[in-house]
């Protein structure tokens, strides 16, 4: 390895000065279209990319290491920082994995609220994708329209949990709070207004000549390649493989809800864009079915599992044993049984799974976060080769990667 000092800094032995016609350029890590801290080293032949090397790790915070040094409940707010666009999806994926490990299930009202929040987060994330992706490609006004709606959705999240981005709106075993007064009406209003706005976005983009020229046949991933590279979510369904964890391995209330899984066999960025739009419509459909379900449920919000989960506040304040148990759970943390689980969930970006290895201690022995964006970033080294430099930004935008979960 190169000996580095102040005069010859460390550049991973990259040779920028080439004698042939190739040029090596450094894209990022501070590029506005990189959606975070992505550094791409591209080798160009004219405008054609002949080699691409994604360099990640600029946002590495050691979240998996932190998980080994925190009790299960302490770690939950840290999961907000994975995919910070839709943090409830991370909270839920983690809480769900721990629930599987403990063998408990959230009460029905909590399930209704969780499913609602998950779909609301999917809408938030897809609107964000649409806004930034269109902005990268050059459509400025769509960014403003999509961000306006996203802000309304985030206001709803704020009304529920008090935070715009780092929600921590889910707890292990349920949800901390019931919906505030008038929230469902606000949600209904938002949901009713959204289809009109989606029609506006589609009117601006779907048949737009420039948009189609920039997206059609750009970033083509075949279904076989998508599976091979570990692509999930829209990246997989955009390549003609119909697999959605909500449908195939249902969790929460998805088993009893009616919704479709849009699939596209175009395999390109345009197909993926259409899928994001369709998924938003499906999310609206899901939330519409969930709204009347909330009133029909019992008011219990947290699972009853005294060994793992504190009793409700009224019981803690009135009953001695509940207080003792609460004290132990707060100071020492819950002790799940020995074993390992891998629990996948369908986050807006793809398959977000948590592998937890427990040795029966209040600290996870090993926690592996299977982040969809990590593998979508890996795909870039093959996907970008053979495309033009102008399409690089489109392809990065179309993979919808978020660096909070790539680097963890």
């Amino acid at each position: 390895m190169q000996v580095t000092n102040k005069l010859t800094p460390f550049f991973e032995n990259l040779n920028f000065e080439r004698s042939d016609n190739m040029m090596v350029i450094n894209f990022g890590p501070q590029h506005p279209s990189a959606h975070g801290q992505l550094r791409l080293v591209l080798e160009l032949d004219g405008e054609l990319v002949t080699k691409a090397y994604p360099d990640i790790g600029y946002l590495h915070r050691g979240i998996e290491k932190m998980a080994e040094n925190m009790t299960y409940n302490e770690f939950l707010p840290t999961t907000d920082r994975l995919d910070y666009i839709a943090s409830t999806a991370n909270n839920y994926a983690y809480a769900h994995a721990v629930e599987k490990l403990l063998g408990i299930e959230a009460p029905r009202r909590a399930q209704v609220i969780r499913t609602m929040l998950l779909e609301l987060n999917r809408i938030i994330s897809h609107l964000f994708f649409l806004a930034t992706h269109a902005l990268d490609v050059g459509a400025m006004s769509i960014f403003l329209y999509a961000f306006r709606e996203r802000e309304f959705a985030m206001d709803l999240m704020e009304d529920y949990c008090g935070a715009r981005l780092t929600h921590s709106a889910v707890r292990i075993g349920g949800v901390p709070l019931d919906l505030p007064k008038g929230w469902l009406e606000d949600l209904e209003k938002f949901i009713d207004a959204l289809p009109e706005n989606i029609a506006l976005y589609e009117g601006l983009l779907t048949e737009n000549r420039i948009w189609k020229m920039r997206l059609e046949d750009v970033g083509v991933v075949s279904g076989k390649d998508a599976l091979n590279w570990g692509c999930t979510g829209v990246m997989l369904r955009g390549s003609g493989v119909k697999y959605d964890i909500r449908k195939e391995e249902p969790y929460e209330l998805y088993g009893e809800l009616e919704f479709d899984i849009p699939v596209s066999d175009r395999c390109d960025s345009y197909g993926r864009y259409r899928l994001y739009m369709e998924e938003m419509k499906q999310s609206i459909k899901i939330i519409k079915q969930l709204i009347p379900m909330h009133g029909e449920t019992e008011p219990q919000l947290m699972a009853h599992a005294p060994q793992y989960i504190s009793a409700p506040k009224e019981e803690i304040m009135t009953q001695n044993y509940a207080l003792m148990q609460h004290f132990v759970l707060v100071t020492q943390g819950m002790r799940p049984p020995v074993g390992e689980v891998y629990v996948p969930t369908e986050s807006p970006k793809g398959e977000l799974g948590f592998y937890i290895k427990s040795e029966g201690e209040p600290y996870a022995y090993r926690l592996k976060c299977r982040a969809p964006s990590f593998f979508h970033t890996g795909l870039l080294q093959e996907l970008l080769v053979g495309t033009y430099i102008a399409d690089v930004v489109t392809i990065i935008g179309s993979t919808n990667i978020v660096f909070g979960e790539v680097d963890r």
Partner: protein, 260 residues
């Protein structure tokens, strides 16, 4: 007496554990006859050391040298066309072994299988990149975090940590705040080794407060000159608040009255 901390596992520990506490185990179920998993088990009969179902997923223990043949069998014969995740678990302190798992997904049956193998410390494992390209990044991460080498990997290099980093952060011997090398890494990089004495090691614990540091931390209730040495006690020198500036909110305050 100084508290004993085992050097081979410096991760967070519960401060109190009842000495009669025995952790229960998640039940391991046997594979049912004529199920999808039974077919998988019979296909892998030659290689499987142990098979059971844990929380709805089949777990297959194999020898580390068989990983390529088992995964290709799963891919071609059993329809497990995607490898969702692979990584390792550090069991060096207990068994001086790493446990490596491959999380497989069958998209037609919506079933998942976890293939588990154990390698000794210092051993390498065959890369599965020829079978699943997702392993390109995943094995690099495993190498970065644990130092496990994958043989025949196209580009085995650190991925999340800087290339010239020393140590593998997810090992149980690696402290949460970073080791000795980590505390000098940025000092050496930005200023050079000769500045070590002047700058001192980097404190990677953001919550740490040095009570004798009068440069960065103020003393509540006591005035200490900037950068004064207070390591051997400080003077009793409480701040005297000015009487005239102290507002008596109890007496008359229009705003307060309105708020009430």
């Amino acid at each position: 007496m100084r508290k004993y901390t085992p050097k081979d596992n410096v991760q967070g520990k519960s401060y109190y554990t009842d000495r009669f506490w025995v952790a229960p185990r998640i039940p391991r179920e046997a594979v049912e006859e004529d199920s999808h998993f039974a077919n998988v088990v019979s296909a892998l009969k030659k290689y499987a050391k142990e098979t059971y179902i844990e929380v709805g997923q089949l777990v297959v223990h194999i020898k580390p040298t068989d990983n390529i043949s088992v995964l290709s069998l799963l891919k071609e014969k059993c329809g497990y066309s995607q490898c969702s995740e692979l990584s390792a678990v550090d069991y060096l302190a207990r068994d001086s072994e790493f446990e490596i798992f491959y999380q497989m997904l069958n998209i037609t049956e919506a079933k998942r299988v976890r293939v588990v193998c154990r390698i000794k410390q210092g051993e390498a494992i065959e890369s599965i990149v020829p079978l699943f390209k997702m392993a390109n990044f995943a094995e690099r991460e495993m190498f970065d975090m644990f130092g496990i080498v994958s043989n025949n990997h196209p580009y085995l290099k650190r991925i999340l940590m800087p290339d010239d980093w020393s140590g593998h952060p997810l090992l149980k011997t690696y402290p949460l705040q970073g080791d000795e090398a980590a505390s000098w890494y940025e000092v050496d990089k930005i200023f050079g080794k000769e500045y070590r004495d002047i700058i001192g090691p980097e404190n990677r614990d953001p919550a740490k407060i040095d009570r004798y540091d009068t440069k960065r931390f103020s003393r509540v209730g006591y005035e200490v000159p900037f950068d004064a040495d207070i390591s051997d006690g400080e003077k009793e020198n409480p701040i005297e608040y000015s009487k005239t500036l102290m507002a008596n909110y109890q007496k008359s305050s229009k705003q307060l009255k309105e708020r009430r």
